[in-house]
Symmetry: D2
């Protein structure tokens, strides 16, 4: 078993999801590589040391540049806010490190292009944690699409709804709430949530060609968490867009953090000539499937309990009928990434894939700002 020494930057929400994957992957997947929790980096020494002890990291750093320079680190995992991705990725690539990056790749495609160029020029393996591709039900959707069960695709529709920012008393910025701070996050729901929806959509249905979008910021001012001052809110609270895919299908996408009662409702539906597929992340172990070729008497939407050994990833976990949770999508992704290292194959989604999503996000925001349809740039 080859050791893969990991250096993680950031210990927020993703700072738990990633090391949990590093610690568990080898008990559930047979792999050539074993991730080693070499060092974790954050600015506050005391806090990062406590974190390191809890999770079993061998050491800590307080400056990410020191981490990137370390010879005993094979891979840099970027789990810090969006505004740090560019510099870290460039430095890590330059240092010849494998780079794992939390999504979205960057605040915009200008940053994303630099990052993609950097890892490709350096020839280092790279991946972006669009973890939902590894929800077994979504992987199953991909499999059904690949098997051409749906026939010609007419429609794609996606939503990503949450409700946690409705209160005007919620501040913006700071460690916990940087997602509300435009300078740090780059955008609101578009980069945070729609990026997921778009990554899944492209994976399942191919390139998006053009979009017409609208955005809204419902709460115009919020107190800043750190400064305590009321400041204008720069992010998009909500975003919806129409789209046309290269394959001729029509799409609607929508995301908001103002949909009361929707906690993390990431949904999509695909309608094809012969069959349709629907998914809802609030019931992540189920995939809905309708096949018009079933006999007319008993035809109906099938609620597939995606927990059988035949289903993607599920032979690695428990027994049919028992579910896995949110964290397993990171473990499944990591297992695939480690396997791709062994096979020296391109892992998907990598920086290039994430850049494609970034181009869509940029076109969406531009369309919303200008009030007109926009063409989507495609990675060269």
């Amino acid at each position: 078993m080859k050791k893969l020494n990991i250096g993680l930057i950031g210990y927020g929400f993703m700072g738990r999801a990633h090391p949990n994957a590093f610690r568990k992957v080898n008990q559930f997947f047979d792999l050539d590589y074993q991730p080693v929790l070499k060092a974790v980096c954050a600015r506050h020494r005391q806090k990062v040391e406590a974190f390191a002890e809890k999770w079993g990291w061998e050491g800590v750093e307080t400056d990410w540049r020191d981490l990137v320079e370390r010879k005993d680190i094979d891979a840099i995992d970027i789990g810090s806010p969006n505004n740090t991705h560019l510099d870290i990725a460039l430095a890590a690539a330059a240092a010849g490190k494998i780079v794992l990056c939390e999504k979205p790749l960057a605040r915009n495609s200008a940053e994303g292009e630099k990052m993609t160029r950097a890892v490709e020029k350096a020839g280092v393996a790279n991946m972006v944690w669009f973890n939902y591709r590894r929800v077994p039900a979504i992987a199953l959707a991909r499999k059904l699409v690949e098997e051409k069960r749906l026939g010609k695709i007419f429609h794609y529709r996606a939503k990503y709804l949450q409700d946690w920012t409705i209160s005007p008393d919620l501040p913006q910025g700071g460690a916990a709430l940087w997602r509300l701070d435009l300078a740090v996050a780059g955008s609101g729901v578009t980069g945070d949530l729609l990026a997921h929806s778009i990554d899944t959509a492209i994976w399942l249905n191919g390139p998006i060609e053009s979009v017409s979008a609208m955005t809204e910021t419902f709460i115009k001012e919020r107190k800043h968490q750190i400064t305590g001052k009321k400041q204008p809110v720069g992010i998009d609270d909500a975003c919806a867009f129409l789209a046309r895919f290269a394959n001729g299908s029509l799409a609607t996408f929508e995301s908001t953090r103002y949909a009361r009662g929707r906690k993390n409702q990431n949904t999509f539906e695909i309608n094809g000539e012969h069959a349709s597929i629907a998914f809802d992340l609030e019931d992540p172990h189920r995939l809905q499937y309708f096949d018009h070729r079933d006999d007319p008497l008993s035809r109906g939407w099938r609620s597939i309990h995606v927990t059988d050994f035949e289903h993607p990833y599920m032979d690695h976990w428990w027994v049919p009928g028992t579910t896995i949770g949110y964290e397993h999508t990171f473990i499944n992704a990591l297992a695939d990434f480690l396997a791709s290292l062994s096979k020296k194959q391109r892992f998907r989604p990598d920086f290039r894939d994430a850049l494609e999503t970034q181009y869509v996000c940029d076109a969406v925001l531009k369309s919303a700002a200008k009030g007109k349809w926009e063409k989507v740039s495609q990675p060269k």
Copy 2:
């Protein structure tokens, strides 16, 4: 078109469901017979006249014996409380009338046997309004069973849950609440609700051989609606039983009027070697179907929206995707009954079928009283 002159007894809840069927059946089904609302009978002249006018009955009677004697009546429809079924049915049969009887057939199988003998001796067409057989989804279940899609049957489970008698302030007896009065109703949930479940079960899964039951009366005393006096409650508020079918399958049945939140939840599930079926009357337009022979990747419970033209009865109604309601089960049943008159075929369920259900009810109540397993009598 042959006229079929109807004389209805009773104008309560079923006094609306039946004439609604008589009035509508010919617009939606092509039949040789046209029911004519000849006369309706109830004791209170003023009320029955108002009712007759509203519904378009040609005349009224206040004594059912007079109605039964009328030469211009072809069919007697018994919509009055259970304790009246026996006498009316016997008289109607003796008068050579077709007899339609609301379920349950009678208060007990002793009465039911007399009634069955009477109509069979008289050779008159007869039917019992176990209307749920004509819910399209239940008729579809029957079709799937007949096509032997399920293979050997292992399990049958049925529930019929309501919650309308939980309040101890609800009185018993009188016009509206005779279902709580043992002398009138014959039993509680067993005759009122389980009779439905049993009729459906026998239709779908064949004869029941033995049962072990328990019953309970949660509210021991209630004021009588008419006398105003507190009286012991004689009916079973709840009843559950284990059963073995002749085909070797095991069953559980349960009914209550104390299941908070369940308004009219009549459910069943059948598990066979190859496939399973599940139904819930609170979503009457859907049938759940699981077929293990579907390919392993996309296998799942199918939610069949039973509204396609291919589905039972649905070519008579609207368009795919649009539902019919509770009242249509009576119209579908009536259409089948009228067609059976033309073809001179036995209509199912008739008195003999309902008697079979009555035998199960009797065995259930006896088992509960004695605390032991009971064999079920079978109609000879």
Copy 3:
């Protein structure tokens, strides 16, 4: 009881839904008016006579102008294809008749304006059969909105999905398929399905101010049913649009007849500050409701079984737990209309309301054609 003599034009699908309502309304609602099936009109005498006999119409006409001229007709019910609405409505209004019109009001707002002006100038009562307002669950949604349970509204999203035109072998035009013929229908899914969604949306959430739409015609040529010739398809097979409401909320609307597995899936969801509502016409007896003010432990989406006596219209029908069907939405609408006649109140939706929906449809089609945002005209 006052008689209201009805003259119906057309006997297709709606030619059954309307007279069914006329025949049933008085048994289930206490009203001053009783509709009388005076005459039905269609061009083919033999067919219309057979239809009249089946449904109990007293007479027939073969030219709608003759029907409109008859002195013994109080109300003209327009159930014929969209391209006939204008002329009939104008003539009926001129003749002083009450006018009931199947939706959409017209092929476009130019026609709709003339119709609205005509009935208003004539001062005749008028209504449009946007029957879904009278689905009890939708009426309940309106009630919850009126009670201001939702707080400030952030989002509205609606879909109307069907799948019956996917086959390229389906012809266009003729009696059964005029909905696919642009000249007759005026548009495709926009007028046929989105008109329903828009009417409901305006009723629940107020005026729509601007839209950005896209449409698609997936099958470019179809054989004409009557001529047998291949002709270009002029209608929109699918249409999706973004919208902004006057109340500041954002919306997405989508409709198609190419959503495999969706038979008649008319859905909407409203997200407010405190509560959200969701509906799906494929389960028409349920309304989903989430109230954030419920205690945090037990808060969840409530699936309201809209069959209690407290729920809109349900005290007129059966008992709690039992459902009504598609046809009842017409009966409920008719009952309200007849009651409005007695009270001499404006019935909603009338021509003016339907014109407002027509303006949105026109803006949607214009936006799709031009590829840019359009303002919606508002009725003066």
Copy 4:
């Protein structure tokens, strides 16, 4: 942090669920104790060494008696088949070890009584892995019951349905299929599945007083996995029973491995005077709750997405809207057990609780064998 040295016996299915909990608990819960994977024991040295390496066990044993004797072991975790529980538990208790035991406690209550006496006499902390008590939704159900939200309880109904033994070609016995071997398992679905249902039921609704049961063995003979010989099947393939609880409520329980389409459907429903609760393990992150005290207009079954920070255990995991999986129930249980060690409190369920469940199982099997109602013994 105190180390708690674990010695595990068995490495089958539970041999993965338990150590996964030992390895993860401290990253997600703040505890005084840290489990240490000291040694794992199984008969086949090579296999157990491979297992130990994969999971990070410090050492191995091949005779459980050696493990129990080791001074460096604090707690013995029994993950081996049911027929080994008695001897190991007795030896472990005698050696003064903490004892963790996979469910069911034993093959029958005679064994269970000895085990309970042993741990109580030795005064060692003990627990049984009835992990489903720690499904957050079930823990929430318990909380709602404790808060007396339901009022007087009328009904309890539970099912535990699987479908993995329908094929007659499935052998019995051996490492993987000992659950089908009567001598090893003690019983079929009763001990394996109903034990779960009963443990949950007693926890939520108190003691069970009497039962009437039936069992069935559908496949009468199966090849033995090891010997290759056809042998009679001794276990119950299916079991259903009626029950009466001490609190006066009525219950039905049912379990089978012959319910096609049900993978691991462990359900229960409780109906109380004011409110009802329903749960289905196939959607483990949801709890259904109906409260009759909600306002009549908007009252409905609430689908609680049990992922908010307020919900049991969920503040230890991810963010609202994200689910946890099957394995987390073991981690939650372990966390509670370790906390109980610190507080020197009785952990529930311990051996005594599991013995109470065992008494019910014994009464059920006896009732089925004799065909009559049986009283349930209660732990003294």
